[in-house]
Symmetry: C2
Subunit: 238 residues, 2 copies
């Protein structure tokens, strides 16, 4: 059965999400691990319709379908090397959530915290959104507990089940530079170990989060030490 | 933040699914209720690559992203009237899984039963696929138990939680016309009540399933009676 011409589908964003991640580095790779992360979903003008959200507040969780940011020449790779497996193991792309797939649409589960009125229409405050700020959103779907949760599901590789995480130490004088509501989230994303899988050495990294630059290194005992926190310059509009 | 030109995304099918549903009527509206349903996912030539599926057998469940069959003029409706709510209640489209959404991509959870070699490359045998045969598939993702299952999720309308279903009576002489492996699935889809929400009367319906035409009506006690089962003519190729 060949794909007919009329089976292509062009998606245009219905919204964008604003989060504390200006760049990909630092975004947790496994969705759902850092609950304190917050994002605001702001609708594009054509879709900023209150009626389209009627009843959504009945749902505690939502699905987001969104666009991976890729260079325009889309290449898909039959196999990829997931960072969480150490970066050395090749796995079929359809056995991963990697962006390097033929149709690069991301799927994320988020918590619906509130539906608000912004200056340009309705906005959704979301919890647990592991997305770079500005990510285009193609669809929002309610999470249907009966249909979408399979408690008997099994899957993954051995390393998926390890409780891998770094001990994180942030000196009080640095932590106090952050707004209170961002501190637990920062601890969470550092605990997840943002470093590339192939670079587990003692070098210093800089991560951008919530308008701050966070500098850290990981010692031989796998303890992450934050060495500096500096406020970043505000970007000139978005 | 306006949608830039480069945020549109064009999807082309990577595969199609073959199921026992030649048409939409009879496909269960709530995904996951009829486990006995079977579908075979067959890849488009360009994507029929064994390596792309390496490791997928480790996952018991998968997500399918697929295309709703719509007339070409795409219209989205801010509100819809979900059949399962009786067809009379308007709900925001983003609070439903209705096709009438701006970017009509469907999301379904299926069980991965086996990875097989077909004559044109790898094929996936899937369980619980509530899709019309021929539906284009845009993506396959592994179901990640930790990230995708939210056991504490709540949502929906009161009628979502009712254990609504019809008692189904199929005379033995009719049931015996069906292959054994299709009988439980037929019972399941009839139990789900395929009738339009606004048409709960005693008329006779004809449903197509697994190559058979199934005729039935529902009496005043909400018992569904199958009155005829006939083998359909084989369609001349696909």
């Amino acid at each position: 059965m060949n794909a007919g011409k009329n089976e292509t589908l062009t998606l245009t964003p219905i919204a964008h999400i604003e989060t504390d991640f200006e760049e990909k580095f630092g975004v947790p790779r496994q969705s759902g691990r850092v609950e304190e992360l917050r994002g605001t979903l702001i609708f594009e003008k054509e879709y900023a319709v209150n009626e389209a959200l009627r009843g959504i507040e009945r749902y505690s969780h939502l699905w987001l379908l969104w666009g991976f940011s890729l260079c325009r020449r889309r290449i898909w790779s039959p196999t990829v090397r997931p960072p969480r497996l150490g970066g050395n193991r090749r796995v079929g792309v359809f056995a991963t959530r990697s962006p390097n797939r033929p149709n690069p649409v991301g799927l994320s589960l988020v918590r619906l915290l509130s539906v608000n009125s912004g200056k340009n229409g309705p906005e959704l405050l979301l919890g647990g959104a592991d997305l770079v700020s500005g990510t285009p959103i193609y669809d929002i779907k309610p999470y249907l507990p009966f249909s979408d949760c399979a408690p008997d599901a099994v899957g993954g590789f051995a390393s998926d089940f390890e409780d891998y995480g770094l001990d994180v130490e942030i000196p009080e004088e640095l932590l106090s530079k952050l707004p209170v509501e961002k501190r637990k989230a920062l601890w969470g994303i550092l605990h997840e170990d943002p470093r590339p899988a192939y670079q587990h050495d003692g070098r210093t990294y800089g991560l951008s989060f919530a308008g701050y630059s966070i500098f850290f290194s990981v010692d031989r005992e796998n303890i992450l030490h934050v060495t500096e926190i500096r406020e970043r310059e505000k970007s000139k509009g978005r």
